[in-house]
Symmetry: C2
Subunit: 262 residues, 2 copies
Amino acid sequence: LDTNLKKVVLVVAYDGANYCGFQFQPDAASIQGELEKALFRLTGENTRVAGASRTDSGVHARYQVVSFRTSSDLEPDVYVRALNHFLPQDIAVKAAYKVNRDFNVQRQAVSRMYEYCILNSSVRDPLRRLYAFQVHGQLAVEAMNQAARLLVGEHDMASFVTDFSQSVIKSTVRQVFAAQVEQREDLIVFNIHAKSFLPHQVRNTVGTLVRVGMNKIDIKEFETILEAKRPGLAGPTVPAWGLFLMQVNYPRPLGEYYDEDL
Amino acid sequence: LDTNLKKVVLVVAYDGANYCGFQFQPDAASIQGELEKALFRLTGENTRVAGASRTDSGVHARYQVVSFRTSSDLEPDVYVRALNHFLPQDIAVKAAYKVNRDFNVQRQAVSRMYEYCILNSSVRDPLRRLYAFQVHGQLAVEAMNQAARLLVGEHDMASFVTDFSQSVIKSTVRQVFAAQVEQREDLIVFNIHAKSFLPHQVRNTVGTLVRVGMNKIDIKEFETILEAKRPGLAGPTVPAWGLFLMQVNYPRPLGEYYDEDL
């Protein structure tokens, strides 16, 4: 272990449209890959970037948290300016912090917040076409909100997973702190705040909520799906472009995980 | 004059990024050109589309009003659905109305509303990069708002025109009903409501207001620029991608300009 290695945390935002997701893939552009390329150009080091939440292909982030190790002594604000210079326009570093080497962006995160935007209109909106999923028929927002609130608490979310076959998930129990559906002008917005999420959980949840909003299933049937704990029951999976990672929360502000003595 | 020709008005919205502007140009994609192509595919007629406000290259519209003549007997809601089918995803028809043949979308409009979005942040926002102009240093919003309010009333706006040489403008006097600058989260938004506008007027106005916000000029100097009535004094011209045509107003709702007997 190189004792000269420091750990740095970045808050990043991105438009996910042109990426295969957060996670590195050899033949496709990824958020992780772009961050690692920019870090190489800045520090000359090949470093691995870890993310707090692995967003899927096409999913956006307003506030994602990543970390990396480096032997460079650059100040946090230099990372912000220099990385934004090297990164493509659809990825930005919003802030940087020195942290202790034992700080883990994924394990120490206490919760994540996601938002999903539905354009509920019979006519498309050219200015939102890349950031909201269009549903034509009028949705019953209050019924969707009532169904969403059933998710709050500790639940086995197995029904909201598409497929377990390739997964290494130990438990499908997840703790949800808040979930709601609200109308904002012509958008219907779903917000969910949870300790962590299963793959495709948010998009399968929204797909099921849309079925509630269309009166294809009632709230009781939504509850039955939740309680069945059976993969594939929920959905359909709504498109990635309506989904935003809004926040990753830690017990303390990110600036308070650095101790000069360590 | 073909007495069988009817007139139809459309409310359209578009993302201006991929267009040379509203007005037809032979070698570039325009909003007018795309609407005319879609109408040809729907009705088989070569018809000319007139717009209430000629947006420049890159400028967006949430509510633009256009009209065309046709001999077809399609109902308004058929135009909405069929044209949205033929149009590219970054242009949409929001509504259609039959109007009397003497209705003129440009002459009968009593006012237009434009909005300009500034991202006031040292860090870019990947999710707004196509819809807001970034200004790094912190802007004095209240000073900008006070300067904006000087525009209200009837003024000779000659200073806010870039160049008269190629222009056929008879008068540079314009009537402004309202103008304001306000902070909305990390955006600074300029709204202006006027009877009509000169070419580049809004973008040159915003460029001048940004100079006020940066304390490069004070409110008194802004007033001096306005009162000088000299082309080229204002500016710089801020980029097109922050500008949105928000509304075109008529004395009556667009659905009330059709008389069965005419």
